[in-house]
């Protein structure tokens, strides 16, 4: 008997590209003979989906991998599989999770015809700034059961008549005898930039407006000419962090003025329903569309998967889950990020300064740091307890900019709270837990397999035909603001009755009963402060909000569903602390059949578009302007690196290649990226440009 449905993976990531053929599948594996080298990309089973019939007509392994097609990037288009929680009527033993297939449907007395889908995605980047609901760009497929390829048409009240933004396509894959599983494919948009009819006053030069299409009616909406810092009043306290990350120009007062550009990024919800007799079973999954992973053989140090695991399981790791492989993976990911950074430059720019470098400059050459990280990997392979937990930055040390503290790991990178980057508390606990083991034990276990209770396996489930970059561990999470998602947005509604800012304790909205809290700041939850001390190199101190993920890890782990005392203060000179009991809302959807949490972010926590609303607009702005390199695994910095006697030499990734190689060349401009990113930006494999 089918008790419930699931869509796996619960969060799937698509990646832009305007080439007609989606990217072929590959596996990313560590070379067992060269464990210190780059991960290998091995071509893997790729589904050939006939868009006319909706059927998978072939499965092939490509001879070689090509990320582009005629100069255009091949999009990553994930499949979302439907799984069924099955078992006897009492669900004895918890049942099992198995793929929903035509055979299983038939056994239930149902058929494919009893399935319905609906996909809702949105781009809320503009409304996030303007606050005008008519600036929402929303696409709703409506309910469908056929297998046609359906466009997701992004519509907006403030668009010109007959104008829209394509946010991608979805297709219900027609099951066949060879491929009987129920699945849907989400294909993202092309990564285009759209413009506005307006011409903001005070622009230093005419807006080139070299966009794919002009869609926004500046006479209707205020996106064109929008300022986070208005000329005639105080800033809206709810502006994004970082602020002013939209395409535009700086006015005479150095306030950033929007050109009114939009992109075709989005996130949303995929729903499936199945009628089984007189029952209707429902499930949903989440999707998002973001830029390509330009270093597909590298994984971010801290990913959306790490955030989800901490939110699901808490900051403390069970000993059975604390394996050497997982510690090695963290070290490897650190290695993969710094390997793509010009660490000599970031030693004085990445949260440092020319006068106060983060580390002794003799130590930070890229090759030298590579060697150091390789030595860590070598030592871990011996089963030596990870000794380096001592030099990891604790979650409450993110604001310590004194010289010794800035050297802690991860170094040279920014965190989600704009301070120094930390790992999640769970990642740190993993390292410490493993460090406690090797003196006394032999071997280790690793539990895998999609089961009803193995939420980790569900979270990381790689649907058949899906690339590794469709999963949340490929998405950078140290969000300031992020790339695929601004994952800080999942914390906004963690307390029932109020809505917080994604990066601070500022109360943005509240239910009527708590309306007095709007405009105040949450500084304490039960025994846990939301603030940390920020200490400058000269010793002066201040306070700042910690990133929610680490600050609330224990609250979510131990008090979900409970009332907790929450203390708020006023931003005025008289803090006037006020403590209110609020209930901690579950972050994850609940399985009624199993009476337990699933691995799926609940719909109340984030509506379509809300996981991406505070990202840069358009996304290429982030590439051009971000001064942080915690995401070098996604956006490389330093490539084609060679050793010389004087140190390493290489190319600047986001610039034209020069001969001889040099890092000192200008980045591609905003306009070059907006319209030419597919041709200009190169995929990097093994640290080198992929021609």
């Amino acid at each position: 008997m089918i008790h419930e449905l699931r869509i796996l993976p619960p969060l799937a990531i698509a990646r832009f590209g305007s080439a007609p053929t989606p990217m072929d599948n590959y596996d990313v594996v560590v070379d067992s003979e060269k464990p210190l080298g780059y991960r290998l990309l091995q071509p893997a089973d790729t589904f050939q989906l006939d868009v006319d019939s909706g059927e998978i007509t072939d499965v092939f392994v490509p001879d070689e991998l090509s990320f582009t097609e005629d100069g255009k990037v091949r999009p990553v288009a994930p499949f979302l599989e439907v799984w069924a929680l099955t078992g006897d009527e009492a669900l004895t033993g918890g049942g099992q999770l198995e793929p929903l297939t035509t055979e299983l449907l038939e056994a239930e007395g149902s058929s494919v015809a009893d399935l319905r889908w609906q996909v809702q995605v949105a781009n809320l980047k503009v409304v996030r700034r303007t606050g005008d609901e008519d600036d929402k760009v929303v696409a709703d497929s409506g309910e469908f059961a056929d297998h046609a390829r359906r466009p997701l048409v992004g519509e907006c009240e403030h668009f010109l008549p007959d104008k829209s933004i394509g946010l991608g396509h979805v297709q219900f894959v027609k099951p066949t005898e060879a491929h009987p599983q129920i699945r849907l494919r989400f294909t993202p948009a092309g990564g285009f930039v759209y413009g506005s009819t307006g011409a903001p006053q005070d622009a230093p030069a005419p807006d080139p407006n070299d966009v794919t299409d002009v869609v926004y009616d500046a006479s209707e909406g205020d996106w064109d000419g929008y300022r986070d810092y208005p000329a005639d009043g105080p800033p809206n306290l709810g502006i994004t962090a970082p602020p002013q990350i939209y395409a535009g120009f700086d006015d005479a007062d150095r306030a950033h003025v929007s050109y009114g550009y939009l992109d075709d990024g989005c996130d949303g919800v995929v729903r499936v329903t199945l009628k089984v007799g007189d029952r209707t079973l429902r499930a949903f999954g989440r999707v998002g569309a973001g830029p390509p992973t330009y270093a597909p053989d590298a994984v971010p140090i801290r990913s959306v998967a790490d955030e989800l695991e901490q939110a699901l399981f808490g900051p403390t790791v069970e000993p059975a889950d604390a394996t050497f492989e997982r510690v090695e993976e963290i070290v490897r990911r650190s290695f993969e990020t710094i390997r793509l950074m010009n660490t000599v430059r970031w030693n004085v720019r990445g949260m440092g300064s020319p006068d106060v470098p983060i580390m002794d400059s003799s130590l930070v050459d890229s090759i030298a740091l590579e060697n150091l990280h390789q030595s860590l990997l070598v030592a871990l392979r011996s089963g030596t307890a990870p000794w380096f937990a001592d030099v990891l930055r604790e979650y409450d040390e993110a604001g310590d900019f004194t010289a010794p503290a800035r050297r802690k790991m991860p170094a040279m990178m920014r965190g989600a709270d704009a301070q120094l980057m930390t790992l999640t508390r769970r990642q740190i606990d993993l390292i410490r837990t493993v460090a406690r083991g090797p003196m006394f034990t032999d071997g280790e276990e690793d539990v895998t397999g999609v089961t009803p209770t193995n939420l980790t396996a569900q979270l990381h489930h790689r649907a058949a035909g899906n690339l590794p970059s469709t999963l949340p561990d490929s998405a950078v999470s140290n969000c300031y603001p992020g790339l695929e998602f601004d994952f800080r947005n999942i914390w906004r509604r963690v307390f029932e009755g109020i809505e917080l800012h994604e990066s601070s304790g500022f109360v943005v909205r509240a239910n009527p009963e708590h309306s007095a809290l709007v405009g105040r700041y949450l500084i304490q939850v039960a025994d846990f402060t939301t603030l940390m001390t920020v200490t400058q190199p000269d010793g002066t101190t201040d306070s700042a909000f910690m990133e929610w993920s680490n600050a609330l890890a224990e609250v979510v782990a131990n008090h979900t569903g409970e009332l907790v005392p929450c203390t708020f203060v006023s931003p005025a000179s008289d803090p006037d602390p006020q403590t209110v009991e609020l209930r901690v809302r579950p972050l994850f959807a609940r399985s009624d059949a199993m009476q337990s949490s699933t691995a799926l972010i609940d719909e109340v926590i984030a509506q379509p578009g809300e996981l991406t609303q505070s990202l840069c607009s358009p996304w290429q702005n982030d590439y051009q302007e971000c001064g942080c390199f915690y995401w070098a695994a996604s956006r490389p910095d330093y490539v084609n690196v060679d050793s010389t006697v004087e140190g390493s030499v290489g190319d600047r990734w986001m610039a034209a290649r020069a001969e001889p190689k040099t890092y000192d060349v200008p980045d591609f401009t905003h306009q070059e990226l907006f319209q030419g990113w597919e041709e200009l930006l190169r995929f990097v494999v093994g640290g080198k440009d992929r021609e």
């Binding site: 067992s32 003979e33 060269k34 464990p35 210190l36 080298g37 900051p315 403390t316 002794d360 400059s361 003799s362 130590l363 930070v364 050459d365 090759i367 030298a368 740091l369 590579e370 060697n371 150091l372 390789q374 030595s375 860590l376 990997l377 070598v378 392979r381 011996s382 089963g383 030596t384 000794w387 937990a389 001592d390 030099v391 990891l392 604790e394 979650y395 409450d396 010289a403 010794p404 802690k408 790991m409 508390r425 740190i428 410490r432 406690r436 090797p438 003196m439 006394f440 034990t441 032999d442 084609n640 690196v641 060679d642 050793s643 010389t644 006697v645 004087e646 140190g647 390493s648 080198k688």
Partner: protein
């Protein structure tokens, strides 16, 4: 101890009326002599402590004791790290006075100024701890805690066959000598020296007081190791700085006075472990410590090694334990090569610091510093394998092998820079031979993943070395 050392040590040993400086030396030379002796002692202590730390653990440790044993190991490793800091600071002092660096020491067992039987590599026991405590004890220990001092000194004496001298005496003499302008004139010190010395920035690795050894706010209470050790790495360009550096080193471990904070000094940390260990019965203690052989060596035919048909006397600490198990021998040889690489990287890094054109930028010096730390990690890794392998070819269930820490035939660096890089390459060649034998040997299979990774790391480094030697550039991207 070599007579060329002991004949100048009367002021320290107080056996006859001291004449300072001793005949044949002037004041500066005498200070350099003492500093080089201090370097040998710091080096010897560090290795001794590392060995003791590696002997802890094993599959027989009861679950309820694992937290305690782990805490002991981290504490002793922390002390060893601090001794490394002392060693580096002593090199800075030598540089400040214009003396040659000293990374050399005698193999184990050896006699030295501290006590008759000298340094030994042996598993952690109450007698060995008693020895460490006495060596690190403060001057007024007998006054402030006479019963404790008496009992522990007696135990140490039984173990070593004689009184155990305090390391602090050496530092007291150093402070006296360097503090005397008549012995060490003002013009001995120069500001320009600083660039030639090791800095905390380069060598500190993020370990500062309160930052190292802590388990963090999320650690379970019973495993909250507040071992807040600190690396003392001090640059010295003035007499005051030199005295300050010596005082810091002394306060941290060699004990001028009983510190207020019981976690501060090496003396107090060893004392705490001693008290916890002696509270246990002998059988309980045995379960916590691996049965690692004393003074393990790869040397089979040396004069201090009994003939194969004569068993080593376990009660005679001045004998060595030959590693005869073939698999363990290969690992022990690999350990020695990597130990030599550590010492060569260290001394080469100090030599490069003397090159004014190589200051402040990335390049070979930074790589050498990083590689020094890489070799420390390797030593820990290989030691972890060795303490799990049998010592004796015939007795597989008996004593375990251990890291031998045997000194190389020479620590002298070639004069020319390319030749120095060739020496690094020579050591990689030697390592490659041993790795290949380990990989193909018919043994337990221990450490195979590790040597595969190590071989690749060495191959990458080799490519970079070829560039420095002036040969073929490495593959683009830095290696395979």
């Amino acid at each position: 101890m070599r007579s060329r050392i002991t004949r100048h040590l009367w002021p320290v040993l107080d056996t006859i009326e001291p004449e300072v400086p001793p005949l044949e030396l002037n004041g500066r030379d005498y200070a350099i002599f003492l500093l080089r002796l201090a370097a040998e002692i710091e080096h010897g202590l560090m290795v001794q402590y590392l060995f003791a730390a590696y002997s802890l653990g094993g599959p027989n440790v009861p679950l309820e004791q694992q937290g305690t044993v782990r805490a002991w190991q981290e504490t002793i490793l922390g002390v060893a790290k601090e001794e490394m800091g002392h060693l580096v600071t002593v090199q800075n002092l030598l540089t400040a006075l214009g003396g040659p660096l000293q990374f050399n020491r005698e193999d184990y067992p050896n006699d030295n100024v501290l006590y008759e039987t000298g340094f030994r590599l042996e598993p952690l026991t109450p007698p060995s701890l008693a020895t460490y405590i006495c060596a690190e004890s403060p001057k007024d220990w007998e006054t402030t805690n006479p019963d404790q001092a008496r009992d522990i000194k007696r135990e140490a004496k039984l173990s070593t066959g004689g009184d155990v001298n305090r390391v602090g005496r050496l530092y007291e003499e150093l402070i006296r000598v360097i503090g005397d302008a008549a012995l060490v004139p003002d013009d001995t010190f120069a500001e320009t020296n600083a660039a030639m010395q090791a800095s905390w920035d380069a060598w500190g690795r993020g370990f500062r007081q309160g930052a190292a050894g802590r388990q963090g706010p999320d650690a379970p209470d019973d495993q909250d190791v507040r071992d807040e050790h600190e690396l003392v790495i001090v640059e010295v360009t003035t007499r005051e700085a030199a005295i300050g550096a010596l005082e810091q080193v002394g306060e941290q471990g060699e004990g001028f006075e009983l510190p207020e904070n019981e976690d501060e000094s090496h003396f107090q940390r060893f004392l705490k472990i001693y008290e916890e260990l002696t509270d246990l019965g002998e059988d309980a203690r045995k379960a916590l410590i691996r049965d690692v052989a004393k003074n393990p060596t790869t040397h089979l035919n040396g004069p201090d090694v009994p003939r194969p048909d004569v068993a080593a006397d376990p009660d005679k600490p001045d004998t060595t334990s030959a590693i005869t198990n073939p698999e363990a021998r290969m690992w022990a040889h690999l350990f020695n090569v990597r130990y030599r690489r550590l010492l060569v990287n260290l001394s080469h890094a100090f030599e490069l610091a003397a090159d004014q054109s190589d200051l402040g930028g990335p390049g070979p010096r930074g790589t050498l510093i990083n590689r020094s730390f890489a070799e420390m990690y390797n030593l820990r890794s290989i030691a972890g394998v060795l303490v799990g392998l049998p010592l004796d070819q015939a007795k597989r269930d008996d004593e375990r092998a251990g890291p031998p820490f045997q000194m190389p035939h020479s620590l002298m660096l070639p004069h020319d820079e390319p030749d120095r890089w060739r020496l690094h390459r020579d050591l990689l060649d030697a390592s490659a031979t041993l790795i290949e034998r380990i990989k193909t040997a018919d043994g337990t299979g221990a450490g195979q993943d590790y040597v595969t990774a190590l071989a690749q790391a060495d191959q990458i480094e080799r490519g970079q070395l070829e560039l420095l030697i002036g040969g073929v550039p490495p593959e683009p991207g830095g290696g395979p």
